[in-house]
């Protein structure tokens, strides 16, 4: 069945439109990259669009030399990695019993999970509770509140439910318990869902802003997002330590551009490895229907 002429026109028009939209989506990013690589004078004269002019790495050198930024980076990377592993463990530990009919509390706990997903506590009692738990001004607040997400829990439970009973029964006859079952058989067979949820948890942990804003006062514990927010809003913070001289090849704007790109690099670097899980994740995620 060959396509008619008007069909071809239609498909080409859609394709061209999408290419334009993709370009449009990338232009703001390109513009920031260009700014970060251009010299102060051309940036000040509004000459930079999406290509760098008077290419210089001075802004990058200045940012890379800042120990406070690296500290935030290390803290964010560490809490993201530890948090993601803990979150997968916590989620699996509850999702597994919930996928078993012989777990008698299952029904009640499931209702509890769904209610926790639908009703969001107002931010003030949430803040007061976490402060009561000792998480105020405590860097653990970057990890602990994120280690279990009801929505992700439901995704994992749905995935666990599809495992065949026969395999489990055979293992149980050999004297295998539930813990060994989960860690030696179920989890190794669940790589797709683990990767998807690692992505969901990882992005939340890396990008978190509200929790550190609410709970962390000590600048030593500021994660990357808070640090960058300061750089974006405060000229003094971003320029602190900069040598002021006339032949300086950077200014607030080029430095800001660098910090923005700096925080994106890990995500863009991880993207190709994660891409294949997106669609799978969406399939598992469409719990209903």
């Amino acid at each position: 069945m060959s396509e008619t002429r008007s069909e071809k026109v239609f498909v080409s028009a859609v394709t061209v439109l999408l290419i334009l939209l993709s370009a449009l989506a990338l232009i703001p990013l390109l513009s920031v990259v260009a700014t970060s690589l251009s010299s102060k004078s051309v940036v000040d004269m509004n000459l930079v669009t999406i290509w760098p002019k008077q290419l210089t790495l001075d802004s990058w050198r200045y940012i890379i030399d800042r120990p406070d930024l690296w500290r935030s980076f290390a803290l964010t990377l560490g809490s993201t990695l530890i948090g993601t592993v803990l979150a997968l463990l916590m989620t699996a530990l509850l999702a597994y019993p919930l996928s078993k009919p012989e777990f008698r509390w299952g029904g009640v706990v499931m209702i509890g999970v769904v209610v926790a997903m639908i009703f969001k506590a107002p931010i003030v009692p949430y803040f007061l509770t976490l402060r009561g738990l000792g998480l105020y001004n405590n860097p653990l607040v970057l990890i602990v509140p994120h280690v279990l997400n009801p929505f992700n829990l439901i995704i994992m439970r749905t995935f666990f439910k599809q495992f065949s009973k026969e395999l489990e029964e055979a293992a149980f006859l050999e004297g295998c318990g539930y813990f060994r079952m989960l860690f030696q058989f179920v989890l190794p067979l669940s790589k797709a869902v683990l990767a998807t949820l690692a992505l969901f948890y990882g992005v939340v942990l890396w990008n978190q802003f509200q929790h550190p804003l609410l709970f962390l006062q000590n600048p030593d514990w500021f994660p990357l997002q808070i640090k960058i927010r300061q750089f974006i809003t405060d000229d003094n913070v971003i320029m602190s330590g900069a040598v002021s001289s006339a032949d300086l090849n950077y200014n607030e704007r080029t430095l800001r551009a660098v910090t923005v790109i700096f925080a994106i690099i890990p995500i863009v670097a991880a993207y190709p490895f994660l891409q294949k899980y997106f669609v799978k994740g969406a399939m598992i995620g469409s719990v209903k229907g």
Binding site: L18, L21, A25, T35, V43, P97, V109, A121, P122
Partner: protein
């Protein structure tokens, strides 16, 4: 012989987490009906009934903040929500798989950037020497400081929402489209149905249940616009158009420690959200058999 206790042991950490981090804060919302004092705590602070809700309704800030929240919520439903549906229908028409992947990557990437990063890019884009004003300059326009003018806040909110999340929103729709039986298209083609008719009579109707479920979730979050986004895009000059319940609660509740009052605002927000989900779920079950429950 199976022993069941390990199942119960496994469940305990998760249950404890849900109680500590979800249920105690939820129960703590009672302080909206109390005069909360830090020393007395959730339980022992004195009851004051609807006092804080009355203050709230008569408060001069409330009309402005609630109005802004409704306005942005409405814009989000009307202008932002349909975009991923249209994008998914369009992406589905691309035949060359390399091109398809490229387009998807370009549209997905902004979703992985935090709102702090997005706001950094947006502030740069609209700054005096940013790309926006460079392009305006080509057409002989005077530069505009869009981030400092309240007239621009809503449009910036809508555009940034689309830029960051519309591409990502297509993932679920693409998954739903890929589940459609190809035989339907084959028989439609035999009957001579055009591309546009196939989209209208096959793809779109079969996508509708998914659209409906996501619409319900969106409605449930109607007043919950995303603290990170608005907080990071807001400047004191744009409060009149952009200050919403979330940012208002943050300032009054946390920064000025008006705990009970701000909880009343938050509770109001949650209850309205819940009622909206409930009503629309009813409606959607009448219209079709889709729904959240």
């Amino acid at each position: 012989m199976k022993v069941y206790w390990p199942l119960y042991a496994m469940a305990i950490p998760g249950i404890v987490f849900l109680i500590l981090f979800k249920y105690i804060p939820l129960a703590g919302a009672v302080i909206a009906f109390k005069d909360y004092s830090v020393f007395k705590g959730f339980v022992d602070s004195p009851w004051v009934g609807f006092k804080h809700f009355e203050t709230l309704i008569h408060h001069p800030d409330f009309a402005r903040v609630f109005g802004n929240t409704l306005m942005l919520g409405l814009l989000k439903i009307v202008l932002v929500f349909p975009v991923p549906v249209l994008l998914a229908l369009m992406i589905n028409e691309i035949r060359k798989s390399a091109l398809k992947k490229g387009v998807q990557t370009a549209l997905y990437i902004p979703h992985f950037l935090s709102w702090v990063i997005v706001s950094g890019i947006v502030f740069d884009f609209f700054s005096l020497s940013g790309l926006f004003n460079v392009v305006l300059g080509w057409f002989g326009h005077e530069p505009v400081l869009a981030m400092q003018e309240s007239g621009y806040f809503r449009i910036i909110y809508v555009i940034t929402s689309i830029w960051r999340d519309a591409g990502w929103g297509t993932v679920v729709y693409m998954a739903a489209i890929s589940a459609i039986d190809p035989q339907l298209y084959e028989s439609a083609m035999i009957d001579g149905a055009s591309k546009v008719r196939q989209i209208r009579h096959i793809t779109f109707p079969l996508l509708l249940p998914t659209v409906l479920v996501l619409f319900l979730l969106e409605i449930g979050n109607f007043l919950d616009l995303g603290f990170d986004q608005v907080f990071n895009l807001l400047t004191p000059m744009t409060y009149s158009a952009g200050d919403i319940l979330d940012t208002y609660v943050f300032r009054t509740g946390i920064q000025q420690a008006q705990y009970s009052f701000a909880t009343a605002v938050g509770l109001f927000q949650s209850v309205v959200g819940f009622i909206l989900v409930f009503v629309f779920n009813r409606l959607s079950r009448k219209v079709s058999d889709g729904g959240l429950w």
